[in-house]
């Protein structure tokens, strides 16, 4: 059963048609890759799914619910989490706090409960803390939990963003170029991490990535975008040999 369905998604900015009738179905527990040249519309697609943009045409359906016009925070609370192409951490907050904020969408203590220190709030705080530490353990950042987020190295920051996204207990995780700027060792670890996340948390993952090695290795299915249109979709083997894809993107060195 498809977890996420994009039906005929088109997006126009002024005169520019950034996306043109894109159809996608993401299955449960699948690791799905989206590749394409720069400007093909990949991040725009993410922004539409997460509610930052409202699509000019088309429908986004998540577990049977139409997401169009829902505010971004509601979509997050429904179980879609993401990381950002240009890292968006809470720089002056600690690593631990970054992850704790990530769980905002699934926790409930209100303004008064927190201020008055009601038992329900205190219980929830403990839970949030434990979960956050577990996630930090998962991404191997537990020993840096009290560091300011902007003191971390680039690779560590990317891992922190993933931990924060997981705090939302998502059913769908969107990773926007998570391997960007990493060296090959870090990329290996990242791939291991992504597989581990999928196993442990039984969620679906959509990955936008430029590194073909990463994409071909961990994605089970891949869609290729070019100039806002989906030009190919299939398993990695198929994509590697698809003429249209090779022509537009992979080039002679594929």
């Amino acid at each position: 059963m498809a977890v996420l369905t994009l039906e005929g998604i088109s997006q126009e900015f002024g005169g520019l048609r950034a996306l043109d009738s894109v159809h996608l179905n993401i299955e449960e527990k699948e690791i799905f890759g989206i590749i394409g040249p720069n400007g093909a519309g990949k991040t725009t697609l993410f922004n539409i799914i997460t509610g930052i943009y409202v699509p000019t045409e088309g429908k986004v359906v998540f577990n049977g619910q139409v997401l169009n016009n829902l505010p971004a925070y509601d979509i997050a609370r429904l179980g879609i989490a993401r990381t950002f192409q240009n890292i968006r951490l809470f720089s002056k907050l600690s690593v631990l706090d970054n992850v704790r904020v990530g769980s905002y969408g699934v926790s409930h203590s209100g303004f008064l409960a927190g201020m008055l220190g009601l038992p329900s709030s205190r219980r929830e705080e403990k839970k949030v803390q434990v979960n956050a530490l577990q996630l930090l353990e998962l991404v191997d950042l537990a020993d840096k939990r009290y560091e300011y987020a902007d003191n971390l190295s680039y690779g560590e920051q990317r891992r922190l963003e993933i931990a924060r996204a997981l705090a939302l207990e998502p059913k769908l995780l969107l990773l926007d170029e998570p391997a960007a700027g990493m060296n090959s060792t870090e990329k290996e670890e990242l791939m291991r991490l992504i597989r581990k996340i999928r196993e442990q948390r039984q969620l679906s993952i959509i990955l936008v990535e430029h590194d073909m090695n990463v994409v071909m290795n961990i994605c089970e299915r891949i869609a290729v975008l070019d100039y806002g249109r989906k030009i190919a979709q299939g398993i990695p083997e198929e994509i590697k040999n698809d003429d249209a894809v090779i022509q537009s993107y992979l080039g002679a060195g594929a």
Binding site: G105, M115, Y146
Partner: protein, 295 residues
């Protein structure tokens, strides 16, 4: 209680300490909006004014008991904060700053024309119900609740909005709601401080709550440390005492404030204590913590 304390402290310092206390309450309110949530509010004096006049009118014209009047003033201020914040904070951008300047001006002009408030001549005859004890008890209460709030889920969300609003939304935070909450609470505290001020000074006039007052309060938050409770208190103490000590250079005060803001932003944007967090202390102990947790 006051009588006992005033026996030990010289009347001049007694007065300064009361003013410091009132300013701390005002500044903590502004800190919540601007320091913690990152929404620049330039009209805090407007809320102070609303609280002052409302509470004064209640006690003088309607013989409302003091505590109720204080509460009334704070609630009126909060109401206006809510009404102002809702349309403005919906939008991403820095509109709140300009809107609050205009708001404070309108409030000032309003009270200049407001008959029951005495118009330009001002409002006198306000019962001096504000005591040293009351002020400092309130300071402790306000600081305590601020502390609880900032260390709660809602407080973290407020900081997150300051740091990166889009990422906060992506984590499930209804940023508009939280921004309005911070602004309204800040306004409430502004009104509370205003009420205390009015019932200490015995006399108020619209000029007390002008743009300069808003700037003074902003400076207290910015200098001390944005988003930090001890920082705000420190900034308030420094900037309440300094003008008293430097009475001679009274006229140059604003010049100094203006330059101070620019210099702070360039060299130490988080103020004196903004970068010093409990984290640094915790870090020193965290190594021991990790060991025991892992075993």
């Amino acid at each position: 209680m006051d009588a006992i304390i005033s026996q030990y402290i010289d009347a001049y310092y007694f007065r300064i300490l009361i003013l410091i206390g009132i300013n701390i309450i005002l500044a903590l309110g502004l800190n919540l909006t601007t320091g913690v949530t990152g929404q620049l509010s330039m009209g805090h004096a407007g809320f102070m004014s609303l609280g002052a006049y409302t509470s004064a009118i209640l006690t003088v014209h309607y013989t409302v008991p003091f505590f109720l009047a204080l509460l009334g003033g704070a609630c009126v201020a909060a109401l206006f904060g809510f009404l102002l914040g809702l349309p403005t904070l919906r939008l991403e951008g820095d509109y709140l700053a300009m809107v609050t300047i205009g708001f404070a001006e309108i409030v000032r002009v309003f009270f200049l024309n407001f008959e029951p408030g005495g118009k330009a001549v001002g409002f006198s005859g306000i019962p001096q119900d504000t005591t040293f004890t009351l002020v400092w008890v309130l300071v402790i209460i306000v600081a305590y609740f601020n502390y609880k709030l900032l260390h709660s889920r809602t407080g973290r969300a407020m900081y997150a909005i300051r740091e990166n609003e889009i990422a906060a939304e992506a984590s499930g935070v209804n940023t508009t709601q939280i921004k309005v909450l911070a602004f309204t609470t800040g306004a409430f505290l502004g009104g509370l401080g205003g009420g205390l001020f009015a019932h200490y000074m015995f006399f108020i006039e619209p000029g007390n709550f002008g743009f300069m007052k808003s700037i003074e309060l902003l400076n207290m938050v910015v200098l001390g440390g944005m988003g930090s409770i001890p920082g705000t208190i420190l900034g308030t103490v420094i900037l309440t005492i300094a003008p008293e000590m430097l009475r001679i250079v009274q006229d140059y005060r604003l010049l100094f404030y203006g330059a101070l803001l620019v210099i702070l932003m360039i060299f130490r944007p988080n103020g004196l204590l903004g970068d010093v967090r409990l984290y640094d202390i915790k870090k020193r102990f965290s190594r021991k913590e990790v060991k025991s947790w892992q075993s």
